[in-house]
């Protein structure tokens, strides 16, 4: 605190005053970036949220001869053109576009599904009975004549893989954190900590590769399930990615418990393990909770591992051994093939915005929990 409390030395010269204000402004970058991410991912998804997109194949049409009498604004709206696009087109192109529009209308299948706008909220989250199905179902099938954008299969996929990852990673990481921070001899600790954190240095695409080439075959041989790539394989590989996250935060929380807690327990005759398990761990439990939340956030946001190891079939199933498609993998696999500004494109941004909101909330909670914990422990120490 001394440095903050110091007078600023000799008075700052005018130029220095400007530089110091500049430093202040640049330090706002992180806030600005969070804001921009929200703004620009949200902006592309906004038309769907506001219900401005329409995927219905049956839309009112006008004869091509109307082109002569329509105003530019009407033409742009009718053909879904942006002003810049409209400016580049000559009459002939516009006429052809109107012709295409008519033909699309004629060729549209004449069933009830062709009439609905599948980007409405109820089709995104509730099951719907499509024409060829015998009961209402959740379906994500963006590349078909009638695009189906139900988000439930993707959300279930993400949850399945992330929960497997947590179930695998948390016990291991927490056990290691207790050992390294409380029980290990100091000299061993200096080796163990960077050793485990080395796992964080493996790029996720390499973990994905390992899951795809080695782990999937190995687990299939051991457990004998049908689909080689599934939520379980992806979850285990994801677990490897989040072990260092959970370990680091939990270890930090355990280490920040004042030594006096442990020493008091030892003085009362507790063994080292009892001091760690019954005194230090309970004191640091909010930090462990934060570690799990952040681990979950990391797992649900991880892309390459699930893209490579989950099998990518978007089906609704709670079985861990079915091929699964997550939210992140869907964005990564499909965005390149979408039409810029189309409903599929915007739908993927909506999925991204959803991911952002979920991880933002998780981070926010974890941040507050850790802050409170440290304050409390420091206050008592």
């Amino acid at each position: 605190m001394g440095w903050m409390g110091l007078k600023r030395g000799h008075r700052a010269k005018p130029l220095e005053w400007v530089v110091e204000k500049g430093i202040f402004l640049i330090s706002l970058t992180a806030i600005v970036m969070i804001f921009l991410i929200f703004l620009f991912v949200g902006r592309e998804a906004l038309p769907i949220v506001l219900g401005q997109m329409n995927t219905s194949l049956i839309q009112p049409t006008r004869p091509v001869s109307d082109l002569e009498t329509m105003t530019p604004a009407e033409i742009q709206e009718y053909l879904h053109l942006k002003p810049a696009e409209y400016a580049r087109m000559d009459k002939e192109t516009l006429r052809e576009l109107m012709q295409v529009r008519l033909e699309t209308r004629e060729q549209a299948p004449d069933d009830k599904d062709a009439h609905i706008n599948t980007t409405e909220w109820r089709y995104l989250i509730l099951p719907y009975q499509w024409s060829d199905y015998d009961r209402p179902e959740y379906i994500w099938q963006p590349v078909s004549e009638i695009p189906k954008y139900n988000l439930v299969p993707l959300i279930i996929g993400s949850l399945k893989a992330s929960l497997v990852a947590l179930a695998f990673a948390v016990p291991l990481a927490l056990g290691a954190a207790i050992y390294v921070s409380q029980l290990a001899p100091p000299r061993l600790k200096e080796w163990l900590k960077p050793g485990i954190e080395l796992l964080a240095g493996i790029p996720s695409v390499v973990l994905g590769f390992f899951a795809l080439i080695v782990l999937a075959s190995f687990l299939q041989k051991v457990l004998g399930y049908d689909s080689r790539l599934n939520a379980f394989v992806a979850g285990i590989a994801l677990g490897l990615a989040i072990i260092p996250v959970v370990f680091s935060i939990a270890e930090d929380a355990l280490t920040s418990v004042p030594r006096s807690y442990k020493e008091a327990a030892l003085a009362l005759g507790a063994s080292k393990w009892e001091a760690a398990w019954k005194v230090v761990l309970p004191a640091a439990i909010p930090g462990v909770f934060a570690a799990v939340v952040l681990g979950f956030g990391r797992a649900i946001g991880e892309t390459m591992i699930v893209l490579m190891a989950s099998g990518n079939a978007s089906i609704v199933s709670w079985s861990l051994f079915d091929s699964t498609r997550t939210m992140t993998a869907t964005i990564a696999a499909e965005l390149a093939e979408t039409v810029f500004g189309g409903h599929h494109y915007r739908m993927l941004f909506l999925v991204g915005a959803l991911l952002f909101v979920v991880t933002f909330a998780g981070n926010f909670v974890a941040d507050i929990v850790i802050h409170r914990l440290k304050k409390r422990l420091e206050g008592r120490a």
Partner: protein, 315 residues
């Protein structure tokens, strides 16, 4: 208070202690064993595909041809994108850290908001950064640039995936890494150094530029290396912002696309017509990426350890 807390006998307590300790040791060993298995498996299989020709020749049109394929363009592409990223992220990250440690009041709401934003930025999923790069850098900035620089030209120059946009996206992603590492090194500098400088008549800004920052250099370097090693392995943020499936030559300008090691691993493992045949190629590429990121990490760990030792001595 007057009750004896534990009714269990000594030997049962002892058994639980030994068991508990054993479980935690097992967890630690298991994590390290998995790590070792992954590394050994990759190095073992990767060694056979590695050769000087593989490292230093251009990629063949048929990327899955084990005899001809090289990874030089991917190494150069990955290096280019992380270097440009470092140039973009370092000034911003270091200046933010300077503000947080030297100027801001540690307890003010405002400082907490900045810190919260930094923590949050660190937790944003990498694919969301990719979407952000596409929405902000390519569509918004790139689109505006094209409208200003090349009015009336239908062909996009900047409004498309490019080396610069991929690097900028990664720079946003690694900003927290640089900030946290720099902050740590700034805090490690003894307050006495600053006081001595002020006592000699320097202003606060002079003290920061001439005394604080030079002393924090190892820490800033660590931050830069960690950011580069993190970014080098990331694929999701560059999927839509710059990485190319295949390119005949090397990127020549910031607006060109590039080939990338991590993305190439993804292609080799998922698009290969014959995974058995291309296995050695795939493993060798993985080894190159892994050695690159691990070497960077190792350097960062050594620099940091040395810094901490110096710090302990100077106190």
């Amino acid at each position: 208070m007057n009750r004896i807390p534990s009714q269990t006998t000594g030997s049962v307590r002892k058994l639980f202690s030994v068991l508990g300790t054993g479980v935690t040791i097992l967890a630690t060993v298991l994590i390290l064993a998995i790590l070792a298995v992954i590394l050994i498996n990759i190095l073992w299989h990767g060694a056979e595909g590695l050769s000087l020709r593989f490292l230093f020749s251009m990629s063949d049109k048929d990327m899955f041809d084990v005899e001809k394929a090289g990874v030089l363009p991917m190494i150069i592409g990955t290096a280019a994108r992380v270097i440009i990223m470092a140039i973009l992220v370092l000034p911003v990250g270091v200046i933010t850290a300077v503000y947080l440690t030297e100027y801001a009041h540690a307890t003010s709401i405002f400082t907490r908001v900045i810190r919260g934003a930094v923590n949050n930025l660190a937790g944003v999923p990498s694919i969301v950064f990719g979407l952000f790069g596409l929405g902000f850098f390519i569509n918004f900035l790139g689109g505006r640039l094209d409208a200003v620089l090349y009015p009336g030209d239908a062909e996009p120059h900047w409004g498309k995936p490019a080396l610069l946009w991929a690097s900028a996206t990664l720079a946003v992603m690694t900003l927290p890494v640089v900030i946290v590492a720099t902050e740590e090194s700034l805090r490690a500098i003894p307050i006495g150094l600053r006081e001595a400088s002020l006592a000699l008549g320097a202003t606060k800004l002079q003290t920061i530029i001439k005394i604080v920052l030079p002393n924090a250099l190892p820490g800033i370097l660590t931050g830069a290396i960690l950011a580069i090693s993190r970014a080098a392995g990331e694929v999701a943020p560059i999927l839509f912002t710059g990485a190319a499936y295949y390119m005949a030559g090397l990127p020549k300008s910031l607006s060109d696309q590039f080939m990338d090691l991590g993305y190439h691993i993804f292609i080799l493992s998922t698009q290969s017509p014959n995974i058995e045949k291309t296995r050695s190629l795939l493993y060798a590429t993985v080894v190159v990426l892994l050695l690159l990121t691990f070497a960077l990490n190792a350097v960062a760990i050594v620099v940091r350890a040395r810094m901490r030792r110096n710090m302990r001595q100077s106190h």
